[in-house]
Symmetry: C2
Subunit: 219 residues, 2 copies
Amino acid sequence: MAAKKQLRDPEETKRRIMAAAKVEFAKSGLGGARVDVIAARAKSNKRMMYHYFGNKETLFRLVLEDAYADFREAEKALELDTEEPIAALGKLVSFNWSYFLENPEFITLVNSENLHKAKHIKSSKRMQEMSRNFVGRMQALLDRGAAANLFHKNLDAVQMQISVAAIAYHYLTNRYTGSIVFERDLMSAKALKERLAFNIETVRRIVCTPETLRKLETE
Amino acid sequence: MAAKKQLRDPEETKRRIMAAAKVEFAKSGLGGARVDVIAARAKSNKRMMYHYFGNKETLFRLVLEDAYADFREAEKALELDTEEPIAALGKLVSFNWSYFLENPEFITLVNSENLHKAKHIKSSKRMQEMSRNFVGRMQALLDRGAAANLFHKNLDAVQMQISVAAIAYHYLTNRYTGSIVFERDLMSAKALKERLAFNIETVRRIVCTPETLRKLETE
DNA sequence: ATCATAAATAACTATTTAGTTATATCAAGA
DNA sequence: TCTTGATATAACTAAATAGTTATTTATGAT
């Protein structure tokens, strides 16, 4: 256990700055974020930010990498390979939904990075390492389902991964304009519950063969 | 026909400012956009922008509303109701894909507005008017498909609309981080072609009954 | 205890930025 | 043709902003 009330604690200061930066970058994007706001929120000061991180963009990169790392860690903890394929898939869809819902800053950080054409993580070794085996788990799941004659064969794991994320991410990232365009509150408890159910059913229909779907219907 | 080489042409000046603003807002987001850049790009000057639009945020709102209007106009031109339901659905999926691909500024403008929780269009009368009958076309298509015993009954038109957009929009808006995470160029001609095919097939599987899908397979 | 180093703070600076003021110029109607 | 109002430009300003310099203070090693 680390000492708690040290007057000087570089690790803790760094941690506080990162946490504050995450909030500010998520709220305002990289361009709109203010280093003064980050420093104040961290109950530190600008000079410390520059001392530990060099500049605003490096800080952004580290915050973003951390956000990806957290997401990957959470996903790894799912243990899909012991479960029955259809149930495992539902679990994966639910996980994506809940994660984006509970960690809205992940969405805005990723959006911000894409606005900048991913220049901050483009040559990030850490990002590359994290991405390894990411698609592998989806591929394994699809293979298991196909072997059990439940899923279509030759499903593309990358396309599936993108689609599973898409139907959750898109709904949630565009929740504000969506609520106006569709003239309904997309974030009401009822709407959220319905969307999750819809998404689980959607992914099932994508991967399962017509025969499997028929069986599921008549159960 | 309007005179072309007038030294003073308020309508043309406004148009140039709007066009320049669209480029700048799309490239840098609302927070990152610079009014000086907009003025210079429009070959006008800042004072004109303030004269005609009042401030940066109003200009942003007008640019965004125009972008939505263009999208809705293009969609309206599709004439889905004369076509066979499954073909019409494919046409709608293709339209969404092509539109987002050919008008990337639509995506970044919408993303930017969502970062700001849709505050600029929240009470926009024009947006509300545009949204009318938007879901109606999808509903009509789903009804036709259901009546022909091709589609599931009781499909939610809003969920479908969101999903059809999602599988195109998400792929394209996150093209940069996606290309890193999945270690493949998501924007190569081959990748784009494959994604569109995947999306058409995906939506078919969502709406069609297992029986319809079986028939399509064996054709 | 003392000293060297790292951690922390505050005050500062050079630029950038949204928005304004002051001024000039065109074009249409009297 | 003269006047008036709208169109256009340039120069300006006050506030904000990323990044720095100067200075102080705590802490761990000796």
